[in-house]
Symmetry: C2
Subunit: 414 residues, 2 copies
């Protein structure tokens, strides 16, 4: 048995015990983790300093160093997130549906844990506590495989969590960390079908692509977002400007930020005056099609590539369309299926857009920035899925469960 | 563009039209397919004769020849299955959940089609009409890739279906058949992520394994069944004998048939007398552990391999256990997560078994043979899933849908 196979077998054994643990026991274990992280923040910070110094010595960028760094405040943040997870309802054991069949069989479909979840992530060490806590709440054992930059921090956090849950009577192996941070360990994890039920890659596009291409274990993947706002002929222009400004600039680096603006030609000129005025507040660069460039000063002509790009920055592409169908077609061609918005006052246009646009979330008259577990009322999230299988949209605790049929009989045969 | 990429692009385009089609239009198209199959049964039978003669000339087994053969009766069966699909509720557009958020955003989660589904199947040509109709009802375009043995039959059926739906105003490319039946075409389909949303392998263990190992497209896979019946100390012995007999012998070749019997030691001797009497009616071969072999005449000693086998035949393995926990452990080790049954009169034993056994369906006092779309009240099914992602248990029409969030705002920003 390889090291990872041993971890897989240990996770499976732990998971069977965890799957039968009551909500009270799981919440007590989470509470113990939360407290232990605060109590041992000195140990975590010492380990994190090692990671930080190694990374700094290797000339990592300021942005990456910032993501790597842990201090009292960030550890408090990790502990607080766990408190929120404790407050959430137990996602396990919920009766999804049920019926009594004509032969008297009583059939119930209930939620159960997925089993063993492998989470592959990159530099941010707070994912360690976050992912482990979400998995634990849903009754799953987790095998964590973080990035090499954060290995000392991840080790310290994992040890603290394992001790905490062991003290509460749960198997320590509900939470395990892969010590080997080579690409090989990630690849082996992606093929560990005998022990791992689901793989979640949490990181950049490269990691997610590698998981899709190589994993024989079923994958739940967070998606990228090339989100559009389409301003219809009938739109309230002030509302449109407010929504575009918010969707583009409130946090440009996230996947639910707007990357592209589509304007109905009849209102394009008027709308652009209002929208440009707001975007200028944040010096947003505009890349427009031919018509947009005649209407906007300082407009950079957009090339084909611009329509498909996720800028994640203060840049937006703008295209003028002849009608709503052209907008829908454009989104079908270039969108990533994340979040799409129409600003309109027209009932038929709203209905058509909602029906025709294929995305995890379709908005009428609201910012795309709302696609988020917290905003949707689900609490903590693992990411936002753009895949169509299993879970689409914000991945809450429910997405970490599977289902099982319970059939209550009295001797029925077929 | 390769041939398959062209088919993928055509399917995507067709699917966007189909996704917006009303239930009435889809049901009319299905009805047209059903009628056309009957009207053109001569054409289908002629094409099938070619396949049959080719296969016979190549020395295929009688079993395979039988699966390949179509006659008036079987074509009528195909048409009747479609009538059942028409009778089912439209799985698309169902509101799964909804809420109004504190900021006034109204959020609805609704079912939508998966998109483009590729179905890879083997010798049985009736799967062509069956899979296409299920996909169509759920608003999905389908790319069918059948086995080479049935290519002429599949071509004839597909052409009839395409014409039928075109006459009803739906794009013919909602249903396409891959003409190339080489292994390469299957492999290419498994990697056609740009156009194919979901892959369903319908066939033997080899095909399913190949799909899991090679597919970068997300897979919904029917599973194999190594189903157990555990007869608890408190069991009603007559009921146990009736259930074991039904689960083992009513149709041994299917995945929900019982393959292994576990007996509590306190009732093993008595139970075996009753059970053996029933199994003898069908000359079921018994492979037992040491104790079972002392209790049963003509018992073949079971080897380690027997515990994990799906016999799909009149053979059963029998093991005597010391208590319910040993039964649960045995099932966790050897079961395939399909259907597991306890026969008991003890409340705590029933609860423990249901909670601890991890399978798609867990039964108390009823035959495992009930794990079936029809028996569960779902109508037609694509198979029975033992995977934990997306859908587990009988795969009804609902499992051919994804979901989407509709967000109704009035200018909300974040």
């Amino acid at each position: 048995m390889t090291e990872l196979e041993k971890m897989g077998a240990a996770a499976k054994a732990a998971e069977r015990e965890l799957a039968c643990a009551s909500g009270i026991i799981k919440d007590r274990a989470l509470s113990a983790i939360s407290s232990a992280l605060i109590e041992n923040s000195g140990v975590i910070i010492d380990a994190n300093r090692l990671d930080f110094e190694n990374a700094a010595a290797q000339g990592y960028t300021a942005a990456l160093l910032d993501r790597l760094r842990l201090d009292e405040g960030r550890i408090k943040g990790m502990a607080d997130s766990i408190t929120e997870i404790i407050a959430a309802n137990d996602p396990v054991g919920r009766v999804i549906s049920g019926s009594v069949r004509p032969n008297g069989l009583k059939i119930e479909k209930v939620t159960v844990p997925l089993g063993v979840i492998a989470v592959i992530f990159e530099a941010r060490p707070n994912v360690t506590a976050d992912a482990a806590s979400l998995c634990l709440k849903a009754g799953n054992a987790v095998i964590l495989r973080g990035g090499k930059e954060a290995i000392n921090s991840n080790r310290a956090i994992t040890e603290i969590m394992r001790n905490a849950i062991k003290n509460e009577g749960l198997p320590a192996d509900c939470i395990q960390l892969v010590g080997n941070t080579s690409r090989e360990s990630a690849n082996e994890l992606m093929k560990l079908n005998e022990y791992v039920d689901v793989l979640i890659p949490r990181g950049g596009a490269g990691l997610i692509r590698a998981a899709v291409e190589n994993s024989t274990v079923p994958v739940i993947k967070p998606g990228t977002g090339n989100c559009h706002v389409y301003v219809d002929r009938s739109a309230d222009i002030d509302m449109a400007a407010k929504i575009v400004f918010n969707a583009k600039t409130s946090r440009p680096s996230v996947c639910n930020a707007c990357e592209s603006l589509l304007l109905h030609r009849d209102i394009a000129e008027m709308a652009l005056i209002a929208i440009k005025a707001r975007l200028d507040e944040k010096n947003v660069e505009i890349r427009g099609d031919e018509i947009a460039c005649t209407l906007v000063e300082d407009c950079v002509p957009a090339c084909e590539e611009d329509w498909g790009r996720e800028y994640l920055d203060y840049t937006i592409s703008i295209k003028v369309v002849n009608n709503i169908n052209e907008a829908v077609e454009h989104i079908a061609k270039y969108g990533s299926g994340h979040s799409e918005c129409i600003v309109t006052s027209d009932y038929q246009a709203a209905q058509l857009f909602m029906q025709s646009v294929d995305a995890a979330a379709v908005y009428v008259n609201a910012s795309t920035r709302f696609t988020d577990g917290g905003e949707f009322g689900y609490g903590a999230e693992i990411g936002i899925s753009t895949q169509k299988l299993h879970a689409r949209g914000p991945l809450g605790l429910e997405s970490l469960t599977s289902e099982k049929y319970l059939v209550f009989g009295s001797g029925q045969i077929r």
